[in-house]
């Protein structure tokens, strides 16, 4: 998944939305769910759980 000459890193990209604040957390969650849906459709399997994103709403306990 290299678009430019630099690989931005998928996890790091989603994280940026989270760091952006409340509005961003929603964006991150939506993007993550969309990604999961695609993976499901493509492979018929779970793409992983969403807990990493869910945790971000309560970062103090991670």
């Amino acid at each position: 998944m290299i678009f430019g000459y630099l690989d931005p890193g998928s996890g790091s990209m989603i994280l940026q939305a989270v760091i952006g604040g409340l509005a961003g957390i929603g964006v991150a969650f939506k993007a993550y769910r969309a990604r999961r849906a695609i993976n499901k459709a493509e492979t018929g399997s779970e793409a992983g759980d969403v807990s990493a994103v869910e945790e971000t709403t309560q970062p103090a306990e991670s």
């Binding site: 990209m13 939305a17 964006v27």
Partner: protein, 498 residues
Amino acid sequence: MSARWRKPPSPPSPELAHPEPAPTDVSTPDPGSFRDPASRVVIDGDKVVRLLDERGLEGWRSLSATKFFRTAVADGRLIESVEVDPPDGSAAALAHPRLDFISYPYEWTFSMLRDAALLQLDLLEGALGAGLTIKDATPYNVQFVDGRPVFIDVGSFEAYRSGEPWIGYRQFTRQFLFPLLLRAWAGVPFQPWLRGDLEGPTAEQMAKLLPAGKRLNTSALLHVRLQARMESRMGDRSVRRELGEAGFTADLILANVRKLKKLVASLEWEGADQGWSTYVECSHVTRDRATKGEFLEAALDRLGSRRVVDLGANDGHFSQIAAAKGALAVAVDSHEPVLDALYRGRPGPGLAIVLTDLANPSPSQGWAGRERPSLMERARPDLVIAYGLIHHLIYGASIPPREVVRWLSSFGCPVLVEFVSPADEMVVKLVGNKLPHELHPGGEEADFRALLQQHFATVAEQALGEGTRVLFALEPLPRAGGEPVITTGGEPAMTSDG
């Protein structure tokens, strides 16, 4: 602004504003600039020419049309660019001033890397405000000119496409933020890491290095621990398009950038306060300073030196003398607190700072072993100062005197060296833990003179203080067959952006 870049002494440089009509010679690609296909750099005489493809040209058009660009160039944060006729195969070409000296992040002090990080964030914030973005975030895009950070990779700017995240965020954390956190939070110098791994620590590695007291810090949780976690969860599943569709905006990047600016600006390191301490310890330093300064000035006047490398520069006193005479002076030392204090004192025109251990100076490394040339290749001095240094190498680093002299001659230029005899009080301190038979023989003045004779002609000498030190002004003996002393792998890098 243009006076900030001193032109190399010879050959005379064509005016940047009126570039020579001669076609750009594309045969010498810069070894440090090839990763971005849209923009690469070639060295053409004393110009640095950036060749752009169609995409790169688009980026340049977007950038050069903005007020943000003109302001950033005017206040010295962004390198000057002039459009020149592109050679065949390129959509456009930009000429930049060729910088006198290139240094790398693993040769910078803490405050230098922090200022470079703040410049990167500042420019990204300004760019986003102008509808642009910066597609990477590496300290190799920043150079220090006259003691101030300047962003040199104009090819990194492009129009911001709505819905895009900050592509350089991960790189920013690995190459700027984590190294700074290493020093500020864990007290561990970042330079060895950045020298060993040019990409910088990963979030996962950094997470393991967080000191207990910082593990619950909000920035540590987000930029370090959560990033590490998300990286391992997501692997390489694409999310770029999904983010855009989910409503990602430039405002989210701006919020991140502003938080990072605050965080980075708040970072300090424990060496910041001990700047001059090591210096004051040496009593002979103040005693001999004036004499050593005059000896240097006499050499500068006699030789008309343009490019001086000051080995063991400490607070940069002698580098400043050379810079004041219009030379470029590269102050090299292995002690971070003194160089950091020198940097923070805003040393002004003509002074460059390099943090490296001279018993193990920066090697040539990166792709094909030459993406980042060695310090010895980049230094290219026409005068070397080695004041108050060789006893550290001989008695501290256990380098035999004959090797030290051979090394000094390998610069292939005149050298000012301060001989320090084994009887000197500083040497007595340095060898405190060693037995006589554990020391290299040949450290006496007569031995040293004999060694010098093998490589140099002595043109002046001057006894110092209590008679345990002597200054020598040396000129290299002509070599049989005129073989070059330092073999460089072609052109030295004159840019560093990747």
